[in-house]
């Protein structure tokens, strides 16, 4: 199989990431089916597509014809079998819960054509934890888009030990067809590429804060004005959620038993107070309008 054999794409999960990945795929000429177990989420995804496309035409970013073609390429169904039965490439973007994903992969493996590649958009569940529920481990990999998928140019393509070169090459070529930049991870490592680097920074940022070297505001400023980052570690944590940061640290600690992996005291304190970040109206910074 090669990239030219990929004509039909199925996107499973129409939430935060899925609905944009589906639209991206339809915009680039792929017959795309988007599916979700929840009717309301599916409806929302369809409504988004129906308002996004005319908006792009109004802004002069798309011609009417391009928009019409994209819309015609895109269909929505709550029936998983319907969604994947003709798929050449499946992108899973359901909840980041291992058991849920394993169930989805087992089912899709049964319902999709044998040649189809099954990719997960997971940002941290590696595909080797999913591949074993399928009959085609060589065709199961991580294809990690960034949020919002229609805008962000990067995709991490993670080649675990079970993934064939053909699957990887087709996936990298697909990124190109979708006008994305695919980066190839030749091994499967925790956090892939970007999160490993960000985690290293966050660890150092916490040390600087806990040691009283600098305030979190100043550390964020250092990253923005000194290093050219769009935001600092603490502001980023407010966006992704302090609850997530806390839970991940605790999970890591349970795994390693290394006290260095425990969440920093300043994070524990905020977590206990329910200061989960922007969504809670307060995290490191205050967001009065979100309360």
């Amino acid at each position: 199989m090669n990239i030219n054999d990929v004509k039909n794409i199925a996107v499973i999960g129409a939430g935060n990431m899925g609905h944009q990945i589906a639209l991206l795929s339809a915009l680039h000429g792929y017959k795309t089916t988007c599916t979700d177990v929840k009717e309301d989420i599916l409806k929302k995804a369809e409504t988004f597509a129906n308002s996004y496309l005319p908006e792009r035409v109004r802004k002069g970013k798309l011609t009417q014809e391009q928009a019409d073609r994209a819309r015609a390429n895109l269909s929505f169904t709550s029936n998983l079998k319907e969604a994947v039965k003709d798929a050449d490439y499946v992108i899973e973007a359901v909840l980041e819960i291992l058991d849920v994903k394993r169930k989805v992969f087992a089912e899709v493996d049964r319902l999709a054509p044998p040649h189809a590649i099954l990719a997960t958009n997971s940002s941290f569940i590696v595909s080797s934890r999913l591949a074993d529920v399928t009959q085609r481990p060589d065709k199961v990999l991580n294809l990690h888009f960034f949020n919002p998928a229609l805008v962000m140019k990067l995709v991490e393509v993670v080649q675990g030990p079970h993934v064939s070169d053909e699957t990887t090459q087709i996936s990298l070529a697909l990124c190109e067809r979708l006008e994305k930049v695919g980066v190839h991870l030749q091994k499967e490592v925790e956090g892939f590429l970007l999160n490993r680097i960000l985690t290293a920074i966050a660890r150092e940022a916490f040390w600087l804060l806990e040691m009283g070297v600098a305030s979190f505001e100043d550390i964020d400023k250092a990253q923005i004005y000194g290093a050219g980052h769009p935001m600092g570690a603490f502001r980023l944590m407010d966006l992704t959620g302090l609850d997530l940061a806390y839970i991940r640290s605790m999970e890591k600690f349970r795994e390693t038993g290394d006290p260095a992996d425990l969440p920093a005291p300043s994070l524990v304190e905020r977590y206990m107070k329910g200061w989960y970040g922007e969504k809670a109206g307060k995290g490191w910074y205050d967001y009065p309008e979100k309360k």
């Binding site: 960034f146 962000m152 140019k153 990067l154 991490e156 930049v181 980066v183 190839h184 991870l185 030749q186 091994k187 490592v189 590429l193 970007l194 490993r196 680097i197 960000l198 985690t199 290293a200 920074i201 660890r203 150092e204 940022a205 040390w207 600087l208 040691m211 009283g212 070297v213 600098a214 305030s215 100043d218 550390i219 400023k221 250092a222 990253q223 004005y225 000194g226 290093a227 050219g228 980052h229 769009p230």
Partner: protein, 287 residues
């Protein structure tokens, strides 16, 4: 008009002198090498003219340049309201300069160092006024970089520390208050943590240099990727930062492999020599 003495007219010293002059200070730029000082003045003229052409200079270039005078010795220390040392990054040399400055300047004058790797507290110890010694760590090219680390030594007084931050603001820059004299301050620690991870990813064959840089730019919106920064800074500089962190006991921040050492030994120092992680044209453009 307040007077600033900048000691050392290299890449950093000349940049610091320039931004001080642009902010309206009367600047003495001192270097023992006349050739270095002359070159600095040439660089400053080129830079202010470029800024003027871009329309970001508040005055005409000659007005800025008129506020800078070149000095061969430290005699002007007595007139200075601020003294910033930007000499070669060598501890004994800096200690000697601080001792001299302590003797020659008015007792109330704050003495700042632009060091990136020597603890402020150690330099302060060679003066009789450790409470007035602080770090003002600029980043190069100084006229373009917006951040300055204001570093508090063990004995730096809160008043002098805050005056340092206000001075940085008067230069039109953003102060980053570093409240404790830790190795690498804030910026080099954060850069080193990210760079160590990035080097590890390459050395373990997980991803390529190009992919990691593209990843950080496109995925997280960084202006430049970690290896691109290293090429810009110079790999000899990056190696020196790693060594100084190691020398101060911060092994966990230094690269976990000798990749940078190998590249430095091979002469792949980055953009300034035309090749490092990437290749560059004589004009400094990536090829």
């Amino acid at each position: 008009m307040e007077h600033v003495l900048v000691v050392g007219a290299g890449f950093m010293g000349s940049g610091i002198a320039q931004v001080c002059a642009q902010a309206g200070y009367r600047v003495y730029l001192m270097d023992i090498e006349p050739a270095v000082a002359a070159r600095a003045l040439k660089d400053i003229r080129w830079s202010v003219e470029k800024l003027a052409a871009k329309g970001v200079l508040k005055e005409l270039p000659p007005q800025v340049l008129a506020r800078i005078s070149l000095e061969k010795d430290l005699m002007s220390a007595a007139q200075a309201d601020w003294i910033i040392e930007a000499a070669w990054e060598e501890e004994q040399l800096k200690r000697d300069i601080f001792q001299e400055l302590d003797r020659m300047s008015r007792p109330e004058t704050p003495l700042a160092t632009n060091t990136s790797s020597i603890p402020i507290t150690r330099l302060a110890a060679s003066t009789t006024r450790p409470e007035r010694v602080l770090g003002l760590h600029f980043f190069g090219p100084v006229p373009l970089m917006r951040l300055v680390e204001v570093v508090k030594g063990e004995k730096t007084s809160p008043q002098v520390f805050e005056r340092g931050a206000a001075f940085v603001q008067a230069l039109g820059k953003t102060p980053l208050r570093v409240q404790r004299d830790v190795p690498g301050f804030v910026m080099n620690r954060i850069f080193s943590a990210a760079f160590r991870e990035a080097v590890g990813l390459v050395e373990q064959g997980i991803a390529t240099v190009e992919d990691i840089d593209a990843g950080m730019r496109l995925g997280y919106g960084w202006a430049v990727g970690p290896f691109e920064i290293a090429d810009l800074a110079g790999l000899d500089t990056v190696a020196r930062v790693g060594h100084s962190l190691q020398a101060l006991g911060e092994n966990h921040l230094a690269p976990s492999s000798n990749m940078i050492e190998r590249m430095v030994a091979a002469g792949n120092l980055g953009r300034k020599v035309g090749h490092g992680f990437y290749h560059y044209s004589p004009e400094g453009k990536r090829i």
